[in-house]
Amino acid sequence: MAVQTLTYIFVGLTFGLYIAIALWSRARSTTDFYVAGGGVNPVVNGMATAADWMSAASFISMAGIIAFMGRDGAVYLLGWTGGYVLLALLLAPYLRKFGQFTVPDFIGERYYSRAARVVAVVCLIFISFTYIAGQMRGVGIVFSRFLEVDIATGVVIGMGIVFIYAVLGGMKGITYTQAAQYCVLIFAYMVPAIFISLLVSGSPIPQLGFGGTMADGSGRAVLETLDGILLDLGFGAYTDGAKSNIDVFAITAALMIGTAGLPHVIVRFFTVPKVSDARRSAGWALMFIAILYTTAPAVAVFARINFVESVNEKAYDETPAWFRNWEDIGLVAWQDKNDDGRLQYRAGAPFSGAPSFGETRGESGERLITNATTETANEVYVDRDIIVLANPEIAALPNWVIALVAAGGLAAALSTAAGLLLVISAAVSHDLLKKTFSPNLSERQELLYARVAIAVALGLAGLFGIYPPAFVAQVVAFAFGLAAASLFPAILLGVFSKRMNKEGAIAGMVVGLVFTFSYIVYFKFVSPGSNTAAHWLFGISPEGIGFIGAALNFAVAGVVARLTAPPPGAVQDLVDDIRLPSGAGVAHDHG
């Protein structure tokens, strides 16, 4: 059967499943809506957390990024999983015991301050929207490539599906839907990974395969082979790093601390019945996450080998079909600089910027681009986002595997988008309306506003997907940097320092935010030309600066708290109570 037909079948079946689950688990109260009534089994919650956590970035982009970064790609692997450890050990059990709906709830009550709550809401909304924009781009890519509809139609279909299960089901619907989505996405990730590992290394376990030897009979190690290929083409060795150690350290730390501060993942721990369940569910979640995260670097290695071998030195009409398919969408391009009719894949950018295509085709039939050319010998442009999606095609796997990957990519993007939308809607209806501006809201009204907020947020997210702002990639550094510099230190100090007061927490958040924000804006937007190691503070890139922002936050908060009055007795009692696992009711104590 054709890929397109199969994709329609797979995507249709999985979407039908998600909607059926949403209808079956409709939310009837705000507790159901925000935290699933607090009654979700830890293993199911672990799966849902894993799906929530692993976004389009993990499923679609990560292996591709690692494939082109080599050893330095570890910043994402270590950053995202290591941050999860911080979250599980330092935040999750205590926030579960605290037992309210949202992260701003915690900040607002712990620091007995409306201002602190509003600062937290603003951070949260900014972080979440940055993230959603990325998810919607993922949805758009999958639809436009595999269903051959235009991106706008694809995004609208995706929005419709998310709307149904997020608005009807709330957290309850989302939790069970996400558990199903985890199953779909991990199956879709592992099947091609195992196939490709067998093809390249002969081992059915990708995690071991990329340390093994090539299956082509040469007897050489896989990594050595790849190092050799890349060195020949003028790249650095795959197993060596290109970034400085301090920058790798800072980026990893910023991603870790930022990840631990991501509100849509923290809120997942509010859905289990007990504190000990919150801990256990964190363990299951990381195990489910680790399956994909240990496979990704293997996929990266195999994909890089396959990519070079199927493209380099080929004539345009000898290139595999996938090359021309992705060229049609504009995510790969070729510029025949030396007019030999063959694709030379070398180190360096082939031309400046992302390709902008003209109307005409070249002598070999390629789409001509209008970008200014560069001095490098490289003629091939490839968008890193296509690696995972194109991988089954590159390795010539059966059509049903290609369709499966499309369904998995959508599951990853939609599960994260749904979790983010819920967090945004809770921030608006609960933290801004109910807790700040109109405390007299009834539960029914609050639920209505929460649903309206989801619809509005979804509409905005859809616009991001259809008209992706050119700066999506630039602002991703923001999401993690700001979460690291603002939310994480405030929550951590709230639990581990009884002496921390509102003056300290607010001063810390503001200093951390302003510093990180200015640094990123300066290097990404004001003076992008000077965005090089020589100009960076301590040699730390904008991607890693959230680490310094977080350190500043801690330092300022500590000093200011010493100089001002300790928090009131009731708040200190609250901290004592949070530290004890016993006596956690269902999340929410009011209403």
Partner: protein, 127 residues
């Protein structure tokens, strides 16, 4: 209160230095005494400290700071530092969180603040 109250008491509650059961009649579950609270909290912090040292050692230590040194050794066909950075640290993370689950449950029980039998810890005979 029924006759098996003493048994329940000795199994649920923690003992003081002389090995005597700590009296509990004045405490319900919500009002854990100040000293028990701080003993529990410092046990918790110590355990967290150990886990975080391991966490730092496998990721920032083996995967970043000492990566080039470790790369001279080979493990399962990988340069060792590269393996820690792209595989090993993640496996250790999973083990860390499950150790945390098991260790914390023990610490909770030892200090009588666990949430396993939420409804009845201080009221032995009611169950």
């Amino acid at each position: 209160m029924t006759g098996d109250q003493t048994d329940t008491t000795s199994s649920v509650f923690h003992h003081d230095d002389q090995g005597n059961p700590i009296g509990h009649t004045s405490h319900d579950n919500e009002a854990v005494s100040e000293s028990r609270m701080s003993a529990y909290w410092s046990a918790n912090l110590k355990f967290l400290g150990v886990l975080l040292v391991v966490w730092f050692a496998v990721s920032f230590g083996a995967g970043i700071i000492f990566v080039d040194t470790l790369d001279q050794y080979s493990f399962l066909g990988f340069p060792l530092g590269f393996w820690f950075a792209q595989q090993g640290a993640i496996y250790v993370f999973v083990v860390l969180i499950f150790s945390y689950v098991i260790g914390m449950n023990r610490i909770d029980k030892a200090h009588g603040v666990d949430d396993d039998d939420e409804s009845s810890p201080a009221a032995g005979g009611n169950a």
